[in-house]
Structures are given as structure tokens and as C-alpha cells.
């Protein structure tokens, strides 16, 4: 009976630990599907699988990465989407430090608050969301894993089933592309300037 109690408390512990990540999983679902209902279904389905396959989880390995792996597979299966490397045409021509250079060269007197160039981010809001949402799935997911979930390259490589080298190059390309679309969004709406003017007045 003692064993049984032990087992039961272990299960309870595992369940509680898995549920701790529900916000992260939901956020990922929202970013990948762009649809609240779909994200809710995705998370529910994922946690059903988590329960069913809980015995396959190896004690001591990374629970969050394991959960994300299940979530990702569920996403692929439910939406019949393929997550594959985008064509190089998309990112090949984007230079390193795209956004940094753009802001530096295009900067006009009075465009931004004085001081550090990174202060420019204070004026971005929806643009960031839009830029992330506009990334191809394979790029979007690595950005989410790394920048939002703080997962290591090794954990990401386990989740997406690619070597670490692939994860790295994908992540770097994703960031380049993200900078480009961030610039486009910000520029398109003249957001940078408007906000700034608004602030001055």
C-alpha cells in the first residue's frame, strides 16, 4: 500500500509540474496558429497526450522540452502542416545587423529620442507581434523556443529533431528575417515617427 501511495504522489507531482507550463504552451499555440480557439484545442489535445504518454517521460530529462515536443507533433498532426526550412531567397539578401544598420543610416534629426539606439524599441509594440507572426513556421518556432521560452540550442534541437548546427543557422536566419520585417512594419506605418512626435508633444 505504501508503494501505491508513493506512486500516486509521484503522478500528482508529475501532473502539477506539467501543468506549470500551460501558459507557455498556450502562448506557443497562439503564435503558431494565430487563432485562440485553435490554440485552446491544441493545448487540451497536448495535455491528453501528456497523460497518455507520461510513462515515456524519462525522469530527470527536461520536462518543458518534452512538453513542447508533444505540442509540436500535435500541431503538425492536427493542422497537417509541414514545418520545413524556408527557401533561401527569403533571407539570403538580408545583411547582418539589418535593423541596426537601417536605423543608423536612416536616422534623421529628431527621429528618435536621443541616447542609445536600442531605445527605438520603446516605440514598437504590435509591430513586433506582426513581425513574429509573419515568419515562416520553421523560423517562428525557433524564435519562440529561444527568445521567449529560453530553451537551449540542445533542447530546441531535441524538440524539432534537427542537429544543433541546423538549429543555430535557422535561428540566426530567423532573426535576420525578423529584423527585416520589423523594419518594414515599423516603416510602413510611420510608427516610429508618429509615436515619437506624440511623445514630444
Amino acid at each position: 500500500m505504501k508503494d501505491f501511495d508513493n506512486q500516486e504522489s509521484e503522478i500528482k507531482e508529475f501532473e502539477a509540474a506539467a501543468l506549470e507550463h500551460i501558459d507557455s504552451l498556450f502562448n506557443f499555440g497562439m503564435r503558431m496558429t494565430g487563432n485562440r480557439e485553435a490554440a485552446e484545442d491544441l493545448v487540451q489535445e497536448t495535455y491528453l497526450k501528456v497523460h497518455r504518454f507520461s510513462h515515456t517521460f524519462k525522469e530527470g530529462s527536461n520536462l518543458k522540452a518534452w512538453l513542447f515536443k508533444i505540442l509540436r507533433n500535435t500541431f503538425i498532426n492536427t493542422f497537417r502542416k509541414k514545418i520545413k526550412e524556408p527557401k533561401s531567397i527569403l533571407y539570403d539578401e538580408v545583411e547582418d545587423f539589418y535593423l541596426f544598420n537601417k536605423i543608423k543610416t536612416d536616422k534623421k534629426e529628431g527621429d528618435y529620442v536621443s541616447g542609445e539606439i536600442s531605445n527605438v524599441y520603446e516605440f514598437l509594440d504590435d509591430e513586433v507581434k506582426n513581425a513574429v507572426n509573419s515568419l515562416p513556421l520553421a523560423f517562428r518556432e525557433v524564435i519562440l523556443y529561444s527568445d521567449i521560452e529560453d530553451l537551449s540550442y540542445g533542447e530546441i534541437s531535441e524538440i524539432v529533431g534537427c542537429p544543433i548546427g541546423t538549429v543555430k543557422s535557422r535561428l540566426f536566419r530567423a532573426r535576420k528575417l525578423l529584423q527585416k520585417s520589423l523594419w518594414n512594419y515599423a516603416n510602413e506605418r510611420g510608427f516610429l515617427k508618429e509615436r515619437h512626435e506624440g511623445k514630444e508633444i
Binding site: 503522478i11 501532473e15 501543468l19 500551460i22 501558459d23 504552451l25 498556450f26 502562448n27 497562439m30 503564435r31 485552446e40 493545448v43 487540451q44 495535455y47 491528453l48 497523460h51 547582418d96 545587423f97 535593423l99 541596426f100 542609445e116 539606439i117 536600442s118 524599441y121 514598437l124 509594440d125 504590435d126 513586433v128 507581434k129 513574429v132 524564435i143 519562440l144 529561444s146 527568445d147 521567449i148 537551449s152 540550442y153 543555430k168 535561428l171 540566426f172 532573426r175 525578423l178 529584423q179
Partner: protein, 283 residues
């Protein structure tokens, strides 16, 4: 450390993927190099801004609740002892009801059965075994009347040149006819006849082997779909073998002409005649 080296490791640095030694080196470089510092700070701020702006509210409470209750249900099912055996009467009734429910297995059977029947019917209609092939039948029947002397040959001769000339005189169409050389394989040309079969030019040559009589028939196949025949009939082989009325028939094609060799000889012997004295002639 140069700027280039530092920039190369920028992402790893920001993503906390560097070992202590490398991390310190870069830290030192950034502290000294204003340009790199600006770039590193810019990229770091971007990483931070992505995290801040794309984080939305947590998962809705009702999702969490439904997961928890689903799990509780599943756990209860798992720990519940197995259901006691049902009474025999109940099982019987259950069995009958089970038969009536639409189960995947029944649906599969309902789909597979007609498909199998149609497949079988199609097989019998289009890919019948050789014995039933009409070409084989015609060849065997013609040979039969030749053997039983019911067929009047236009020319009876043992000279292949004479037979060839006879054909050339008779023939007004573009039918390709040539009498094969027998290469001295104890074979004798008997005679020939020119036919018009269903509008298709057909020529018939009788040969006598050592013991068996053999018929060679040549049909101008330009009216037939020889390519289709090749595919369905020969099945990739260069010849086709069939049987009818106890006669063995070998069929092959050369150009637009369809040849058939018929005899009571066994398959092996017939193939030898065909390949040594006639097939080789066509090469």
C-alpha cells in the same frame, strides 16, 4: 579578441550558449569596443523586446480546468478494478446488438468485397489466362484444319524461294511476308495460303518438322493495337505462349507483323523451332 570574432559568437553569447572562458572574453571585448557594445546591446534589446511583446495572457482558466478534470477521469479509470464478467444472457444480447452496429470492420468488408469481385471480373475479362486468348484460338483452329487436310493450300512446295515468290505475286498490300529459312533443322516447307481475315491481311505457311506438323501464320497487325497487345499480352516478354485444343501456340511480333507458330510439339520444342529457325531470322 577581434571584433569579427566577437560578432561571430554574438548569438551564442546572447543565448547563453557559451562556456565561461569564451563568455568572459567577449564581455571584456564589449567593455572596450564601443562599436561592438552598441551592436550587442541592440541585439540583446531585440531579444528582450520579442519576449515582452509576444507574451500574451496565460492559458484561459476553462482550458486548465477541463484538462484537470479530464485527467482526473482518466486516473479514475486507470485505478478502477476491471469490470466483473457480464451475465451470459446479457453477453448474448450484447452480441446480437454488436452485430447490428456499424463497426469499422463491417464498413471495410462492405467496401472490400465488391472491390474484390470487380477486380476478379476485370481480371477474367481483360487478362484471361492464355488458353482463352482469341488469337491463340484462331491459330490453333487454322492449324487443326491444316493438319486434317481441310485446308486447301494455294501452293505446295518445299522450296522456300518459290513460296516467297508466290507470296510476292499474291500480295498487293503492304503486308510484310517472308518465309523463314529452316536452317536445315529437319523441316520442310509445305505450302502457303493468303487470307483476308476480318480485313486484316493474313498469310499462312505450313511446315513439316521431323515428326510434327507446324503452322506459321503472319498477320498484318497494323489494324490492331500492337503496343497495347505488347503490354497486356506479352507482359514485357518478347513472345507469348498459349494453348488451345491440345495445340501449343507461340506468338511474337516483328515490326507490324504478328507471327504465330502452332504445333502439337511441346512447349520447349516449339520454342526451339521459333527461336532457332524463325525468331533468329527476324533479328
Amino acid at each position: 579578441m577581434t571584433c569579427k570574432e566577437a560578432i561571430e559568437q554574438l548569438h551564442e553569447f546572447l543565448d547563453n550558449e557559451l562556456g565561461d572562458a569564451n563568455y568572459t572574453k567577449i564581455r571584456q571585448h564589449i567593455n572596450m569596443c564601443h562599436e561592438c557594445c552598441e551592436k550587442f546591446e541592440f541585439e540583446q534589446a531585440l531579444k528582450k523586446v520579442i519576449r515582452e511583446k509576444t507574451q500574451i495572457h496565460g492559458a484561459p482558466q476553462h482550458v486548465l480546468q477541463s484538462i484537470v478534470s479530464q485527467w482526473a477521469e482518466l486516473n479514475e479509470e486507470r485505478s478502477r478494478p476491471k469490470a466483473p464478467a457480464v451475465e451470459p444472457k446479457g453477453t448474448f444480447l450484447q452480441g446480437i446488438l454488436d452485430l447490428l452496429t456499424l463497426r469499422p470492420a463491417y464498413v471495410t468488408m462492405a467496401v472490400l468485397l465488391p472491390m474484390t469481385i470487380i477486380g476478379l471480373a476485370a481480371y477474367l475479362a481483360f487478362f484471361r489466362p492464355a488458353e482463352y486468348s482469341p488469337i491463340v484460338k484462331v491459330a490453333a483452329e487454322r492449324h487443326d484444319s491444316f493438319v486434317n487436310n481441310n485446308m486447301h493450300l494455294d501452293l505446295v512446295s518445299s522450296d522456300s524461294n518459290e513460296i516467297r515468290r508466290h507470296f510476292q505475286n499474291l500480295q498487293r498490300s503492304n503486308l510484310v511476308i517472308d518465309v523463314p529459312e529452316c536452317n536445315g533443322h529437319e523441316m520442310e516447307l509445305l505450302g502457303c495460303k493468303n487470307y483476308n481475315l476480318d480485313g486484316k491481311k493474313s498469310a499462312y505457311v505450313g511446315l513439316r518438322g521431323h515428326q510434327n506438323k507446324i503452322s506459321l501464320e503472319m498477320i498484318n497487325g497494323s489494324g490492331m493495337n500492337i503496343a497495347k497487345l505488347q503490354h497486356e499480352f506479352y507482359k514485357g516478354r518478347s513472345y507469348y505462349f498459349g494453348k488451345h485444343k491440345g495445340y501449343n501456340v507461340v506468338i511474337w511480333k516483328h515490326g507490324n507483323t504478328l507471327y504465330s507458330l502452332t504445333s502439337t510439339m511441346d512447349r520447349k520444342g516449339l520454342m526451339r523451332v521459333a527461336s532457332e529457325s524463325i525468331l533468329s531470322y527476324n533479328k
